[in-house]
Amino acid sequence: MPLPLVKGGQSEQDKGVTKPVLSLDQVTIRFAGDSGDGMQLTGDRFTMDTASLGNDLSTLPNYPAEIRAPQGTILGVSSFQLHFADHHVQTPGDAPDVLVAMNPAALKANIKDLARGATIIVDKDEFTTRNLSKVGYETNPLEDGSLESYKVHGVALTSLTVAALASLALSRKDAERSKNMFALGLLTWMYHRPTESTENFLKTKFAKKPEILEANLLAYRTGWNYGETTEDFSVSYEIAKAKMPAGKYKNISGNSAMAYGLIAAAERSGLKLFLGSYPITPASDILHELSKHKKFGVITFQAEDEIAAIGSALGASYGGALGITTTSGPGVALKSEMIGLAVMLELPLIIIDVQRGGPSTGLPTKTEQADLLQAMFGRNGESPVAVIAPSHASDCFAIALEAARIATTYRVPVFILSDGYIANGSEPWKIPSVDSLPDLHVDFAQSQEDFLPYLRDPKTLARPWAIPGTKGIEHRIGGLEKADKTGEISYEPANHDFMVRTRAAKVAGIDVPDLEVEDPSGEATVLVLGWGSTYGPISAAMESLRANGENVAQAHLRYLNPFPKNLGEVLKKYPKVIVPEMNLGQLALLLRAQFLKDVISFNQVRGLPFTTAELMEATMKVIHV
């Protein structure tokens, strides 16, 4: 018999949790199942409920490159990890405290990441001989004692769900589809999450499919009740609110924050946003998000390839729009020649590279930081561009605005190096007030006599942004070397040398804030210097090290080209500088070349973010040589 649909909100208290409650300061949960099991959705919902409860959090989705890899195989496993706490959270967590495994493949694929003592909740219905052998289990791990060192809960998730939904007019297959909601309900009970928002979410989502709605709600509540009722779960857990600055928050992924930041940049500059893009993982979601917001006057143009994508963006910039292109590494390779033209034309352009594992097609759904040198040098000739990188998911919002500032002020292509980790990961974001956002007002060249398209602003070295439609300043530009001031074609040796150096000087002179060093003791001799998405893991590791009594300094580069003016000083101050990167040492190469500092690289190229533990260990090794 179906439970009556709940009317309005109902908190876990209302539902009357009756079992003992333990307080924790943080938990990491990983939901894992088949690509078709809805793990991303389950994770998202748990995240939203957790966020609204006031915990700080960080998430890490992880899915296969295949759309739907064969069911029940290791390759088909999709997972979603969430780390939430009563304090500031820096990473999605190293090792899950709880693994929810919807089938043997999910268990097998994830077990190696668990520490002893971790909790494992499995759908024991799925541990059939056939499924076990599919992934190479010769015996049933639920029975052969191999999981001894974990707290294992074998729950008959499938059959319980099907039973609960028996009264509905659903096929067994359809009924089974709700089992992720059963799991979500159970976890919601376990961690005292509110149920209201998920129930509302389901109601909106399935507004037109009342049967499916009922099935999902029923499964969800059955899961909750299962936790509350059965002997199997004896305690539940509470995690207090994190102390976070007051304000309105939302949970946001890097790609969404980037899209919002771009829209904000367009609004604050008064420019039309033009995105020229070609889909590619993991950047496509920025295109998807922006194309939802046409009412901001946003134009999204899905081009025939990456070259056309950036070409159209450059054309739009030439016409006075905020021209943007989004892609990942292989797409950047294709855009190289057009970026060179943009350098020569000295027009604003934003190139967003959501990096993924390389080289070549590489690991499309995995993260990496190995496009830094491509962004710096991947073009013919001396072809300087600005390069900046967001440090965490919500920082993508600010970095987009910053890219727009640099691009429009200096009329220069600006690379944003995001990556798969922050693009898909999410975290709570304190929503800024629009008034607090930077003013990005832009002046176009005005009608005038004897217009000189390459006469520079002495401060910024920027040339005028002289857009078609402006009477009297008609002029011609192009990819051939241009004479200083007039912009006419020039093959003059001295002029070329001058222009090459001037373009370099313009980029070198971009105004960027000084690098801030966090060195609470003031006595650290080791500095850990990161860039991009390693911010979270490095910060977590530094916090832990300091908690262990170690003196260690941390700094994080958001500006890769040009570097902050004080970087040389900072490097000089610390005898030992560790540079952790998810590549073979690309930032390190730039630092060594520019500052002749023997920085110590710590590199991993595993398609995964660093763990806190790895970074702690690497740092300890340097501190205690």
């Binding site: 966020a51 609204s52 006031g54 609110k241 007051a246 304000g247 309105k248 928050y249 939302k250 919002y260 829209i263 904000a264 609004e267 039309k272 033009f274 020229g276 917001h293 046409k294 009412k295 901001f296 006057g297 946003v298 134009i299 143009f301 081009a303 025939e304 070259i307 056309a308 994508a309 950036i310 070409g311 159209s312 963006a313 450059l314 054309g315 739009a316 910039s317 030439y318 016409g319 006075g320 729009a321 021209g323 057009m338 060179g340 033209l341 304190k430 929503i431 800024p432 629009v434 078609p468 439609g469 009477k471 009297g472 300043i473 008609e474 011609r476 530009i477 192009g478 990819g479 006419e488």
Partner: protein
Amino acid sequence: MSDVALTKKDFTSDQEVRWCPGCGDYSILSTMQAFLPELGIARENIVFISGIGCSSRFPYYLETFGMHSIHGRAPTIASGLAISRPDLTVFVITGDGDALSIGGNHLIHSLRRNVELKILLFNNRIYGLTKGQYSPTSEQGKITKSTPLGSLDTPFNPVSLAIGAEATFVARTVDSDRKHLTEVLRAAAAHKGSALIEIFQNCPIFNDGAFDIVKDGDTKGAALLQMVHGQAIKSETHGLVHDGASLKVVELSTVSESDLVIHDAHNEDPSYAFALSRLSASELDHVPVGIFRDISRPGYGELVNNQVAEIISKQGAGDLTALLNGGDTWEVE
């Protein structure tokens, strides 16, 4: 726009023209400079975007906005500009190598989308700027720097390719025929969306005389099949008749005027224009010139901007504060 009508001189920039003596590009330039005033569009609202090649120098010589971009990519830049700035008139200047070799993909995509671009393809059937290699329109067997034993590739027929790519306007004309070129430019300017104009252009340095047959006084009369909408398609000596499902060129003396095919440039079915395009390939005995196809389909920029306008008129303009604060949010006190 000023009240005083502009003249050819107003559209002539101060840059020295740098083509070889006798290059067909000169007359195209001069025809364009003479034609532009007729458009009645202010100079600042006209933009010429070119790729790379001899022909792609064109924009430098016009007193409008202009960009000499990179090889093959002009349609991409022009598309971004035309879509985001529907107030502008955007020309693309390109060569047979630029448009059909490295830039082939952008060309066909611009055409299918019907982006508001007037594309002038200077077809000299050779790579001029790089000093004489064969191009995708060079006839098979062509001996060039890169094919000393003769080229082996079947050339593209630019008109067939464009029609196969869903082009709404396709025309062909000859560099030296100012009047015809002007007529074609006029029609292209009046057309919504993409217009592709193939211009036979002589390169006296690397492919001299390639189009003599359609330019020389004593042969051109017979060689040029004039296509004028609503009129019979014929040259001075030959005419076009139906031959079952296809088309055939016959001597005028052998048929009566009423049997000739009456040109219908507005035929929605591209099969007709395609069949016309097949009347001549590399050899130029009977070359249709004029407008193969000119049909009405909304321009891409128009569609894009209408879609934006429509959603705004339905839902109101975007509100950034609302956007940022939308979705699942919570307050921390």
